[in-house]
């Protein structure tokens, strides 16, 4: 039993999962159980936990792309802006400002928005992998310029739309569960299949650990990095669609604002090193849910808006401490100091 538990703790997602359960448990206790309540209305599931899942879906999708970017030792801080671009393009097409010939088709809007995100990712990948600009600088270009591009698309306006088909992306239900969850499941499944069934995951980890040596083993380091940034752009565009479908409009200034930091935080909580190397997408998903549930907690506990960020910061510090190997060793040493010495003597 003990050995089984020990084996379990070795999985990268173990500690993030513990943190998530802890946060939910604390919420449950404070709310007197109502946090766990799930109601069925019109065959749809409602409740705080469902909210976390639905609102966390954007972050989970972003984290999927971000995980591999960080695993190569890079970063992508343009995802928020890419979300804005994708939302702007989709809404403008549905609204008919853009491509009136498409007749406001949701399919065309979604396809073109995703392609735009892919193009943004390819641009980032080009700068990082081929031109060799430092990732944070390379993606900062689009982070700053992206919102401008989105403004150009919407001609500086907030474009509100009226399309039941488009609303479905965020508000739809299948078998009682919100539609965004199915998007997450689909994306993650495809990604995991690709990463695990091909050698892609191995190559990414190898690049993250030592990119020079990886090149010497024949890995096409540049191409793989490029593909990863492109994928990250695509994921950001998908998240942008969910966001704009949720607010039923394209808001270039606020869509995905600062979400890149939440995305990086989610991956970090998931235990993937920002220096690159080993990564786990499931762990990042749990990380995303942790970040989302902190946000939900803030709302549920009715914490004053002035101190929201302080509260978030404290929670993040605690999470980081729980996951820090050095901190855990420090604790073990303190509590088992004498015992440990005795073992060493023997």
């Amino acid at each position: 039993m003990q050995s089984k538990l020990k084996k379990l703790t070795k999985y990268q997602f173990f500690w993030p999962l513990m943190v998530l359960l802890l946060i939910i448990l604390i919420n449950g206790i404070i709310s007197g159980g109502s946090f766990f309540q799930i109601n069925i209305v019109d065959g749809h599931l409602y409740g705080r936990l469902i909210d976390i899942l639905r609102n966390g879906s954007k972050l989970m999708i972003l984290a999927t792309g971000m995980t591999m970017v960080l695993a190569t030792g890079g970063t992508d801080i343009s995802v928020g802006s890419v979300m804005a671009i994708s939302g702007a393009i989709a809404c403008c097409i549905i609204d008919g400002r853009l491509l009136p010939s498409a007749g406001g088709s949701v399919a065309v809007a979604v396809t073109l928005a995703l392609l735009a995100g892919l193009a943004c990712g390819i641009w980032n990948g080009f700068l990082v992998a081929k031109v060799k600009i430092q990732p944070i600088v390379a993606t900062m270009i689009l982070m700053v310029a992206g919102r401008g591009i989105a403004q150009l698309v919407t001609q500086g306006k907030i474009v509100t739309i009226n399309s039941a088909g488009y609303y479905y992306i965020n508000g739809g239900y299948i078998l009682g569960l919100p539609f965004p969850l199915y998007i997450v499941a689909f994306v993650v499944l495809i990604t995991l299949l690709f990463v695990k069934k091909s050698a892609f995951g191995l190559f990414v980890e190898s690049i993250g650990c030592n990119s020079t040596a990886s090149k010497f083993t024949g890995i096409k380091v540049d191409n793989i990095k490029w593909a990863i940034y492109a994928f990250c752009g695509l994921m950001a565009a998908l998240a942008g669609l969910i966001e704009s479908a949720g607010i039923k409009a394209a808001d270039c200034n606020n869509c995905g604002l600062m979400i890149e930091l939440d995305g990086i935080l989610a991956v970090a909580i998931g235990g993937t090193s920002l220096a690159g190397g080993r990564f786990s997408i499931p762990a990042s998903l749990i990380g995303a849910l942790v970040v989302q549930s902190i946000t939900t907690t803030v709302l549920a506990l009715g914490i004053a808006p002035e101190i929201t960020s302080v509260f978030k910061a404290i929670v993040v510090v605690i999470i980081c401490l729980i996951q820090s190997k050095e901190f855990k060793e420090m604790l073990t040493k303190r509590f088992a100091g004498k015992k440990g010495k005795a073992v060493a003597q023997a």
């Binding site: 191995l202 650990c209 040596a213 010497f216 024949g218």
Partner: protein, 511 residues
């Protein structure tokens, strides 16, 4: 040998790590004005003993006396305060700071609250002048060669505290001339009464400069000897505990009885930024050596063949077909494998397991989508761990936790797994203990016997003589000579490396 002369006395030192006993009741004594070589295979406990002395590791048992007083350093800084400085194998300075800044970092002289740059630069220049180095100390450290950087590190160490100087593999990235210069400095410091502990794998250097030799094996103290009284063969025997001469002999016999196989690869007029107009034929079943100084083009030729460096002009034919070597993957798929010179930066992928490190090249050869299954990879790793006698508790062990020799074996396994026609090894035994060194040499010769073409590059002529059946000597980016069979001798190689063809011919005539 009076007690007063002793600088450092370590006795009954033991250090245990969770899985191993690194040191067991080891003793060591360093006198004033002595160069003391500390020898042993990897894992013998040399580094641990040094670490105990310098406060990086805390000893479990034993006493350390410094000039008769017991010391117990808990950090390198504390060790420095009592007069023990260390210069490590890799230069531990900041390449982007100036030479003077590097020498005074952390202890800058101040004047009225500001750093006194004038004094820093003046003192640094004076200090280096003592070491016969007249360089611009305001230039950044990385604008100088590794050798100069190493000297700067030593100058800094001596300047900080000047009683005990520990040199941990200081010569592994230096050329022969630079090594001589280092030795001059060591002798001078010895003359000034300093005690120097010298850790190295190069036995020639041990005999050239050391007064005393202490040998460790498997964490145990073997003995301390005066260098003059200990024949080399005996020393090697003490270090590895088996008969080295035997291994040596068998390798030599192998070489003598070999004939060149069919032509596999030929290169005509190849030029890159590192080599000019090089012609080359590589045959199956031979060990071809590239000799030359650092930067002569020996590594650069290998890099070209592996598709790392861009070929500006020239033709390459493999097995009768013309090929364009563009990128490492093309080279791998053409049947070429390459163990690069810098194991740490270009070879191992530290945070991945041994299994993953082994499977990597075969995986890229197969392509992204034809993934090796877990069981295939495990079988592969098991096979090579057994075949190459890689010492590890399991194939899940991270490669960075292995010793240098075992890491090199893993890299070798990585390439053997791709079943190459041509295996190129650049300094495969650098920084590796003698036992593993001999094993790797044996494997190289064996592979050639089985029909593989092997290119072998090493700055140790000894090793080249033992392994190579044919040798190309490079000088100044160009091919200087080709030697076969009995022509290969230390003298001839040295002449070609150093002198130019005319000089070499003259030398031959004189002989």
């Amino acid at each position: 040998m009076s007690k007063e002369n002793a600088l450092v006395q370590m006795s009954h030192i033991s250090k245990r790590f969770p899985a191993v006993i690194a040191l067991n009741d080891v003793q060591f004594e360093l006198k004033r004005g002595e160069i003391h070589a500390l020898l042993g295979e990897n894992g013998a406990g040399k580094s641990t003993l040094i670490k105990v002395l310098t406060g990086v590791e805390i000893r479990d048992e034993g006493t350390v006396l410094m000039e008769g007083k017991e010391i117990f350093p808990h950090s390198p800084l504390e060790a420095q305060e009592v007069g023990i400085s260390t210069v490590y194998q890799e230069v531990n300075l900041c390449p982007n700071l100036s030479v003077a800044e590097n020498i005074y970092i952390g202890r800058e002289p101040r004047k009225a609250g500001h750093i006194d740059w004038k004094t820093i630069n003046k003192n640094a220049a004076e200090l280096l002048a003592r070491f016969d180095m007249n360089i611009d100390v305001t230039k950044t450290l990385d604008s100088y060669s590794v050798a100069v950087q190493q000297m700067v590190a030593i100058a800094r160490a001596v300047d900080i505290s000047a009683k005990v100087l520990i040199l941990d593999e200081p010569t592994s990235s230096l050329t022969a001339i630079e090594v001589q210069k280092l030795f001059d400095i060591m002798r001078r410091l010895r003359g000034e009464g300093m005690g120097i502990i010298f850790v190295t794998h190069f036995l020639d250097q041990v005999y050239e400069v050391s007064d005393t030799i202490t040998v460790l094996r498997n964490g145990e103290y073997v003995g301390t000897y005066a260098a003059a009284d200990l024949p080399r063969v005996e020393l090697v025997g003490k270090m590895i505990g088996k008969d080295y001469a035997e291994l040596d002999k068998s390798a030599k016999e192998n070489r003598a009885s070999k004939e060149a196989g069919e032509l596999w690869m030929s290169v005509r007029g190849a030029s890159t930024t590192g080599i000019a107009d090089v012609d080359l034929d590589i045959h199956k079943g031979e060990v071809l050596g590239f000799s030359g100084l650092l930067g002569s083009g020996r590594s650069e030729t290998a890099r070209l063949l592996f598709g790392i460096d861009h070929m500006e002009k020239g033709d390459v034919t493999i097995a009768g077909k013309k090929v364009e070597l563009k990128g490492t993957l093309t080279a791998i798929r053409s049947g070429i494998a390459f163990c690069p010179e810098n194991r740490k930066t270009e070879g191992i992928i530290g945070d991945l397991s041994i299994r993953e490190n082994i499977m990597l090249a075969l995986q890229t050869k197969r392509g992204l989508f034809r993934k090796l299954s877990r069981s295939e990879a495990e079988k592969l790793a098991d096979e090579y761990i057994k075949k190459l006698e890689i010492k590890t508790p399991s194939q899940d062990q991270l490669i960075k936790n292995l010793s240098g020799g075992n890491q090199q074996k893993v890299i070798l396994a990585r390439w053997l797994a791709t079943n190459p026609d041509l295996l190129m090894l650049d300094e495969p035994t650098r920084g590796i203990d003698i036992g593993t060194k001999a094993e790797i040499q044996k494997i190289v010769v064996q592979l050639a016997d089985e029909g593989m073409a092997v290119v072998f590059i090493s700055s140790e002529i000894d090793e080249m003589l033992r392994c190579c059946g044919r040798m190309v000597v490079l000088r100044d980016k160009k091919r200087a000579a080709e030697l076969t069979g009995n022509e290969i001798s230390e003298a001839t190689i040295m002449q070609y490396i150093a002198g130019g063809v005319e000089n070499a011919k003259q030398a031959e005539e004189v002989n």
